[in-house]
Symmetry: C2
Amino acid sequence: MRGRSAEEVLEGCGLKKTEGRLRLLKMLRLARRPMSPDEVFARLRGKGVDRVTVYRMLDAFFEAGIVHRIEAGGCRRFAACGRVHHGHCHPHFTCRVCGAVECLSDVALPRVRARRGYHVEEQEVYVRGVCARCSAAGGGA
Amino acid sequence: MRGRSAEEVLEGCGLKKTEGRLRLLKMLRLARRPMSPDEVFARLRGKGVDRVTVYRMLDAFFEAGIVHRIEAGGCRRFAACGRVHHGHCHPHFTCRVCGAVECLSDVALPRVRARRGYHVEEQEVYVRGVCARCSAAGGGA
DNA sequence: ATGGCAGTTGCAACTGAGTTGCGTTTGGGT
DNA sequence: ACCCAAACGCAACTCAGTTGCAACTGCCAT
């Protein structure tokens, strides 16, 4: 996925290249961290994009596998952080102080072994704590 | 915590022993699997317990550390599954077919190492798939 | 035992994320 | 250029969870 333009990515998965989608996809790729639908909507405000459309675009991206979805921080978040597909997973870190969410793409993820008879399909790991910036600012106290 | 009566548990953490709390705590301990506030409310229906009170009792139990809270399956769930305290964690399994959630208390949980400067406080692991019963019934197909 | 009060509860109204229905617009294949 | 499924905007709705407030009740001190 990295190295391909937003246009190519949309084309490659059969999604129409509308102005809103291109804008959203580029935004997510630049953000490099999971964004909530609300954050997305706030940034698109004034561009004539509806709240519902944001949800639908994000869902479409997720369905197409070009974005991954996490549930951290009380609401859903979406991220385009390379090599994304269904079932893919890496840990996500949520800062208790500033609320920021990050993908720990570089952290190895040990898979839980299934119990007898169980069929594991995907796995998510959420880590909560204080991020480096807030720690340095004494926010962890 | 195991081996102590519900009354002793409440007493031990400074919570008043009201009829509703005792009933709820006993229910959670018998359930042995995470229950959503709604499931709890459904079971207490007719007992004159308000929906808001259910939320508040669950929060109080969680604050007191006698119950743990997970976010699996789109809504919050609470479980009293022994040896519970803040920051404690074990994987939780959600069945894609029947929606049931289980604690995998017996599964070893490898901890994610923090990045430089980060301060990890708690970690949750969610596993999604098909449970043994649904697999056997062919639900995973 | 009883009096007081902080902790707890019930009710009603609210919030905020996400969904649904439907009529209109538009990308892109022919 | 034409057409139609896909995409969009709007409005109204659902559902989980929260807040404010008045009434009630464990439980501790007297």
